[in-house]
């Protein structure tokens, strides 16, 4: 999100899900949409069946490839080379949108163009493994389309150069003028029900609600007035930094609500060690998760069906969730728990109902000021929605970018931090599968889902399997510089040669035993979960 925010001034899907239907070209890169955003995928398929062209760029033959007119199977971690090479073709063949570049953007200068000069389709092919003809074809298809949409997820962002990948995507859309209009834009699909909302609400160490920076004095003063306390002007620690600081003994206590970092974060061994270094750990959750087991205090909370409130989906749509049943035993709403704790610490948060909190959000962030619970009764509203008569915003940047002009960024290809070598010759990439969700605390407690989702597995290309003497279902040991796990092999042409895939849901063979917490993107601090070097041995 920080990547898009840097170049546009805000980081979210620029279009809406229903607009997908009217794309005439879809460029899906680093997103296994049919498994991870199944309902967005249905819209994509609808568009394809209405005549849209589909380009899928993914190191794995993900299910969307079945519908694609062009599949670019690039090596994991080479997105910058692929995208720069496409842009090289677009500039060379003069398929750019001059008017848009002049009127709406900045930074499309000599330095930018010279940088693209290096990335000929031949260079692109050498780095990515995608034949140059396909790179040229993809570039032409994207640049000549009238309403192309780009869709991406963690396949783009979970890299030590994740921000660079995002900058390249933004460059591509900017140079072809495919922003600020209906059914054309840049669309990061968000992975969790309310990950857009937690970002919007300022659960970020340098941002208050509504992307307002904590280190800008007038902004801080506004929040000091709203909350009636003095606030810190130092940006805080990101989640990976908290884990590192805990290990270093400088962070003494943590309060974790509804998260399971032990299983979701890279390098489990390191995460567990760091959390054990804390003097005090409080975990608030609906289940005794792997993280909760390490806690000093566990607070039982209510789940989505047991409370009122709002979620914001990937297309910025704020929607009401409603209480349907009572929580079990003495479990309570997270809001009640936070307020009770705050009161005991001398800061009384007084709200008589959930809607009052929502109203305060509107005071803190003008983009949500026009949304009320009574309006939401008729369906969701997409921010920005500044006034109560505003219909919400279907697509962003119609009148311009929040930062003024859209910014081009010069991006150079950097290899992933941990390239395969003799000792660890395979590239491991992690992700999700259709039937399971994240750390499996929820789906793992649905018997029919367990029955079809089966056991943990490592997906391995048939050619590699043959060399290693591995058969379908063989037990294999996968090891990295961090740790090792044993699981069954699934022989599949989905990954290319030299690439293996492990879903990270399963605690009994956790993929994040193998990943690294050391290789972070410098801007976003996102870890490189999509590329780790591993070794495979038959057990």
């Amino acid at each position: 999100m920080a990547g898009l925010a840097t170049v546009f001034g805000s980081g979210a899907m620029t279009n809406s899900i229903p607009e997908i239907e009217n794309n005439d070209l879809l460029f899906v890169i680093g997103s296994n949409t049919k498994e991870n955003h199944p309902i967005v995928a249905l819209r994509m398929i609808k568009a394809v069946r209405k005549g849209a062209k589909l380009i899928v760029a993914d190191p794995r033959k993900v299910p969307m490839v079945r519908f694609a007119h062009l599949w670019l199977q690039h090596r994991p971690g080479t997105d910058v080379a692929l995208l720069n090479s496409m842009m090289h073709v677009i500039v060379k063949e003069d398929l750019i949108d001059r008017e848009f570049i002049v009127m709406r953007t900045e930074g499309f200068n000599e330095e930018f163009i010279n940088n693209l000069e290096e990335y000929t389709p031949e260079v692109g092919e050498k780095i990515t493994g995608v034949p140059k003809e396909k790179i040229i074809q993809a570039a032409r298809m994207y640049a000549m389309a009238k309403h192309p949409g780009i869709y991406y997820t963690m396949g783009i962002t979970q890299h030590s150069h994740g921000s660079d990948n995002v900058f390249c995507i933004a460059n591509l859309a900017l140079m072809t003028g495919n922003l600020g209009k209906e059914s054309a834009g840049v669309n990061p699909l968000r992975g969790q029900n309310n990950v857009q909302g937690s970002t919007d609400m300022g659960c970020i160490p340098n941002l208050y609600p509504g992307y307002q920076k904590v280190d800008i004095q007038p902004v801080r003063e506004k929040f000091e007035r709203l909350w009636g306390v003095s606030l810190s002007d130092r940006p805080g620690l990101t989640a990976p930094e908290m884990i590192a600081e805990a290990e270093a003994g400088r962070l003494k206590a943590m309060y974790i609500m509804g998260e399971n970092p032990v299983l979701s974060d890279p390098d489990i061994g390191h995460t567990v060690k760091a959390l054990k270094c804390l003097d005090f750990l409080v975990v608030q959750d609906i289940f005794l998760t792997e993280t909760a087991e390490l806690a000093d205090v566990v607070l039982p909370s209510a789940c989505f069906a047991e409370k009122d409130g709002t979620f914001t989906n990937t297309e910025r749509r704020v929607q009401r969730i409603r209480k349907a049943i009572n929580p079990p035993g003495e479990a309570r709403e997270d809001s009640w728990i936070i307020m009770e704790l705050s009161k005991r610490l001398g800061y009384d948060m007084k709200y008589t109902n959930i809607e009052e909190i929502f109203q305060e959000i509107g005071m803190a962030w003008p983009a949500m000021a026009g949304i009320t619970y009574s309006r939401l009764e008729k369906g969701g509203l997409q921010w920005p929605c500044p006034t109560t008569d505003h219909p919400g915003t279907k697509y962003l940047f119609k009148g311009g970018f929040p930062r003024g002009r859209g910014r081009f960024t010069v991006v150079k290809y950097r290899p992933s931090a941990e390239e395969p070598d003799k000792e660890y010759p395979f590239v491991l990439t992690t992700g999700r599968i259709l039937f399971k969700y994240h750390t499996d605390t929820m789906t793992g407690r649905v018997d029919p889902i367990n029955k079809v989702a089966g056991e943990p597995f490592v997906e391995i290309n048939p050619e590699d399997a043959l060399i290693l003497g591995i058969e379908e279902g063989s037990k294999v040991k996968v090891s990295s510089r961090r740790g090792e796990i044993t699981l069954k092999a699934k022989i599949s042409k989905r990954p290319g040669k030299g690439v293996v895939f492990i879903p990270f849901h399963f605690k009994e063979a956790a993929a994040n035993m193998l990943t690294s917490s050391q290789h972070l993107d410098p801007l976003c601090k996102i870890p490189e979960l999509k590329v780790s070097a591993v070794r495979i041995e038959k057990v």
Binding site: P18, N36, H37, P38, L42, N193, N194, S198, C203, I204, P205, Y208, W227, L231, R234, G236, L237, L251, Y255, M257, E259, P261, D265, D279, F280, I286, F287, A295, D296, V297, V298, P300, C303, A305, G309, T312, Q319, I321, R322, K323, A324, I325, D334, I338, L341, R344, G346, Y347, M349, I354, I361, M442, T443, G444, R445, D447, P448, K451, C524, P527
Partner: protein, 346 residues
Amino acid sequence: MITLLIDGKQVEVKEGTTILEAARQAEIYIPTLCDDPRLEPYGACRLCLVQVKGMPRLVTACTTPVAEGMEVQTSNEQIERIRKTIVELLLSDHPNDCMVCEKAGDCTLQELAYFYNLRENRFLGERRQYAQRDNNPFIERDMEKCVLCGKCVRVCEEVQAVAAIDIAYRGFNAKVTPPFEKDLNCEFCGQCISVCPTGALIGKLSIGRGRQKDIQKVDTICPYCGCGCNITLHVSRNEIIRVSSSPDNINEGWLCVKGRFGFKFVNSPDRLKKPLIKKNGKFEEVSWDEALDYVASKFREIKDRYGPDAIGGLSSARCTNEENYLFQKFIRATIGTNNVDHCARY
């Protein structure tokens, strides 16, 4: 735009609209079993037969496009006699077990039988008898109740693009089946269950959990991925027994396996029910007051000794906006640090 008359009412619709769609826009009811506005017209059930002036035979409203000046009659004695006969024929080889059928109260065939007052059936013929032996854990397939409307087949191919099932065999023996009559092996989105007009396709998780009349429906949002699908929880005795989705919402009523069937965790016996404090390495159940007082005292102690920046909080992409707002406010205003983040990176 095209103007036509339906039952004497003047209706103006776009070119390419079918008679059925035009009638719906004019709020004129025509019965159907095989139609779904989200699917291509199919013309299988023949219930939507209407009389168009100047045409020698009755036509199916769902597959006939409107034309300028068309005069349509949606009901008369002949049409109703044919419709009644169609329903009678469908019921003639349908198990007469509404009293135990999960679909009772929400079944289009049952509605039609009620509407045409079909207690006795003139056609007592052969019954199709199929063994139920599908081992999939989500979808109960009872092909004796199937009316061959083809909605499940079409939704699976047209919308889900999976094509896990199709109609095999011919005539009386025709039936919907996976390839080679094997067990269903698909994405288990349950789209087929949501469009089935009878009890032929039922979610296994809701079988025996409650009758339609006892169910309270609550509209909310799916708790899984970021698509934000609108779902309706069907609740009976403080338990979610089924999830459905309305065709007119942002996800057009479509859901995935997690959204439709992944709700059992809510009533899992593993749910945490009491606050826990670890004493001598073991969790002990305590009261809320004890737990909250203890947490507050520890936070205060650490803040006094090391400063507020020695405390950090991780909020949750699973929780609501309101809870996330309160959480960061707690960390910033109550504790006094900006050490707050969430799992956007994973």
